[in-house]
Subunit: 223 residues, 2 copies
């Protein structure tokens, strides 16, 4: 990279790190656990959020920020579940940035337990941008193959939790969940791993229990 | 974007456009049809190349350039089929660039009919970078969902051909191929669309006939 390119990249990353740290503090102060969901396109992020809305609401108060290159589709799906949702259209950019989330902060409900941020479908660029989340969850769907952790290591290395998604297709595909787990843990031994079918909801209980534990641990608040 | 950011981006894109135009001319002069394969991670690009190797070689001479963030895995799979293959590890970058391909040009076999370039698995960034290809083929796999063309329009807008991949899973998924085709054609009415199962090889004949026609048309050479 040329010097001017390096300078510009450092400016962008540095200003994102500062914005994210500030946002994380403000969210935790309010008792909000922010979760950044990352994956390839079509790995089941929006469907997972629909299932979480059904299971967690109204006992817990949820809000969702959706990131996409174009269309309002995902936010509409979440609003149809009765959850407040905002759509960020990046208009070409391959990831969300902290300042995009920060601009929506004043619009968030005063009483909120979970803020889910669905990143642009992409297993590469989003990994470089903290959004002020306290928890980063990566989805790897079974049709994508069990060889992905070492091919896209940064996404796996920077996440705290991994959802092996679309388990309803296990047995129909050349995907070995044990191999995927093993390889993911070689890249990041601290990953908490869950097997979930966003379509049927199978496996969701363990993931929800994890979210509730993390919220209590990180915000210090009970239900 | 700041002025310095815009300048840097224009430098990068401008130098890529020039490198790609030069490379395209050199490849076509040699009678090589270069095909840039783009998709999300795990949509079946490498498996499609394995099937093409089995069907096209040795009658046609193939070479493959593989792009990944890390690992040599995909090139190894192609070499196991007896096809010369080079792996480019981008080390973090979310797409290939023309100059990366240009550096490998001197190593390509003197007699070559097809050069397949498998881009980094990503439905966003690769669409902005011409690699000197004469044909850009996008794979959309059935598990990703039929709503992707309008969410990731640039990839669909800049491709000449679309492969609806993993058709062996049709009927098991909430994916309507007619809806996917309709939406893809709304984004780009010139797309040639093929339904293919890279796993079983079903539907490959039509795609191969298309590749042979395109090679004849663009290079002026027969088999």
């Amino acid at each position: 990279m040329k010097r001017k390119e390096v300078e510009v990249l450092e400016d962008i990353l540095g200003s994102n790190i500062r914005a994210a740290a500030e946002l994380k503090r403000r969210l935790l102060d309010r008792g909000v656990l922010a979760v950044n969901l990352m994956s390839s396109p079509g790995a089941g992020k929006t469907t997972l959020l629909e299932r979480l809305a059904e299971r967690l609401s109204p006992r817990y108060r949820l809000a969702v920020i959706e990131g996409d290159i174009e269309t309002e589709r995902d936010a509409e799906r979440i609003r149809a579940k009765g959850i407040p949702a905002w759509q960020i259209q990046t208009g070409g950019a391959c990831h969300l940035e902290a300042k995009m989330i920060g601009r929506l902060f004043p619009q968030l409900p005063a009483e909120l337990d979970f803020l889910f941020i669905e990143n642009v479908g992409n297993l590469v660029c989003p990994a470089g941008y903290d959004l002020g989340e306290s928890l980063r969850c990566l989805l790897l769907s079974t049709p994508e193959g069990d060889d992905k952790p070492k091919k896209y290591p940064k996404a796996f290395r920077t996440a705290q939790c991994l959802i092996l998604s679309k388990t309803d297709l296990l047995g129909l595909l050349p995907f070995d969940p044990e191999q995927a787990k093993k390889e993911a843990l070689e890249v990041n031994p601290h990953l908490e791993i869950f097997l979930v079918s966003p379509l049927t909801g199978a496996g969701l209980e363990d993931f929800i229990a994890y979210l509730l534990r993390q919220r209590q641990k990180l915000t210090g608040r009970h239900a």
